[in-house]
Symmetry: C2
Amino acid sequence: MANDQPTPFSVPAACPVPFSNHSTVQMAHGGGGRMAQRLLDQLILPAFANSALGESHDGAVLDLGGQRLALTTDGHVVRPRFFPGGDIGCLAVHGTVNDLLVCGARPMALSASLILEEGFELAELQRIIESMSEAARGAGVEIVTGDTKVVEHGCGDGVFICTTGVGAVLPGVDVRPRNVEPGDVVLLSGEMGAHGVAVLAARENLGLESTIVSDTAALTDLVLPILERCGRQIHVLRDPTRGGVAATLNEIARTAGVEIALQEQTLPVSETVRGACELLGLDPLYVANEGKVVAIVHPDAAETVLSHWRAHPLGVSASQIGVVKAGQAGLVTLLSPIGGTRVVDLLSGEQLPRIC
Amino acid sequence: MANDQPTPFSVPAACPVPFSNHSTVQMAHGGGGRMAQRLLDQLILPAFANSALGESHDGAVLDLGGQRLALTTDGHVVRPRFFPGGDIGCLAVHGTVNDLLVCGARPMALSASLILEEGFELAELQRIIESMSEAARGAGVEIVTGDTKVVEHGCGDGVFICTTGVGAVLPGVDVRPRNVEPGDVVLLSGEMGAHGVAVLAARENLGLESTIVSDTAALTDLVLPILERCGRQIHVLRDPTRGGVAATLNEIARTAGVEIALQEQTLPVSETVRGACELLGLDPLYVANEGKVVAIVHPDAAETVLSHWRAHPLGVSASQIGVVKAGQAGLVTLLSPIGGTRVVDLLSGEQLPRIC
């Protein structure tokens, strides 16, 4: 229940809002699409304007006495809290570790802030905490500080977890959307859409659980070695979570002022995810991943990256999925096997709410 | 509404839980008292065991290539969101800035993770974001990265804000509970209880709003100068938020293995807060503050600290409130004006839920 008690400090109902269609928060404001982008552009970024935020990255890079420090944060509200392949606890750790990695940083430490709902089972909380702990151990980071708040029954939803990570950016590494340039190639570390479909199937009891498992994983072993080997040839890295590969590439194309051209036949999707997506009317390009990385690199680095990824269990299906062109700034296109081209646009909202 | 849909991954009801009286989260688990301590000691700390967490500090201190980095996080769920003297936005910034300061660090940057409820007024969100921005500017830090999630109407409560901060620990400074030793003196920067009483009065429409205003403020100008001047003579710093001065001193006494003896007549409380507390049956020692700092220092540093504080608008009522003794480890006592001594124990729960 929202707190709508009148107080002398409540907001006047007539206060003008710069949002054309909505005066209240919509589910789509939390997706990876156009409405989320508008909320960020119109309301949040202007208030917090600073150079780090302007980079449109998954985290910020700060200077600490000559050492570059990456800082990244994410709230986790996934529903259901347990799904095939993972749970809200390991997801919260993997998501933040991966956001540090795609800033070009070696993850050092995490913080965790829990918002618990009164009446939530302590036994379930314990399972979630243990899952966080195991995921952190697996990723080689420690959860070094935290906070716990409790809200009344009906004012939360079991548990929400905000994880924040700090990491040291590797020497000689500089990954950010603005480094992307025409001629670069777009690489993806594996098959798309497993996380989103696994969560949706568990939420809606679709009976697909036995075959589709979330890909939630820490990308440490895919990312650090290629940064060490290829250095500045790695122009940008991103984990395609909310909004999928489509939202990730749209954001990069917009920030870098380039066009990205994808080839449909090279897009890796498993048969089971493809089948489930057809059944559900979803496009795997827009479905969330939690254990995949997109790298846009100088063409000379492509083979090094792909061969490293393919030698690792998390990257066996890695492939080059597209190229960067001067073209039209901000545009992402998809060439079909029969030669047609369509625009891969940002969705207005989100196909799958509360996916992470 | 809690998500209690049955799924194949739900927790068995019979799972054993190491909590004597409760198998579910209680409001008191979010307070500054004994139940919160037990949740931390029994469920969270064992899973995340590491040296930084073991310090029982308001944040962690990490080593980054020889530079010490402080990391601290807090979730904010205060209700109502606007109260005399502040709102959830500035509170989220002040709280995290202050937690960095009491780690002995100069605040560098913050992250903000918002969990919004579907249907929340965007105009109110805008006021809160602007308040965060103004508070950050006032405290000399930038909000450099963030995240926004949306949950369905009825699964949240307007907005929850998790802020995380990083800062550089000042050279030559080492503040932590374990440094406290017998002979030290306990200093408090001003009058107790204003935040807790202001929020309670606004929440319950007690009609006290005009006279009691939250003390929410960044403590930068009280903390950094005394660290620079007194260095290692400052043994520990803490901002007495949830659970008030009583909870803060209990935690320090327990971690440091010392006894802390307070003198009732030296405890600074304004007449209005004292009156409101009497009316409401609250003890100001246990009421949350959001713009006060407790310093436990070597006696040689006491006058320097107090005179600096008293010269600043936020510290005019600063005073020495007690001393550290070898005595009984973990005990906090209060000497009354007529010579009686009582134990200042940790409360089981929290007098005022959702105070920050």
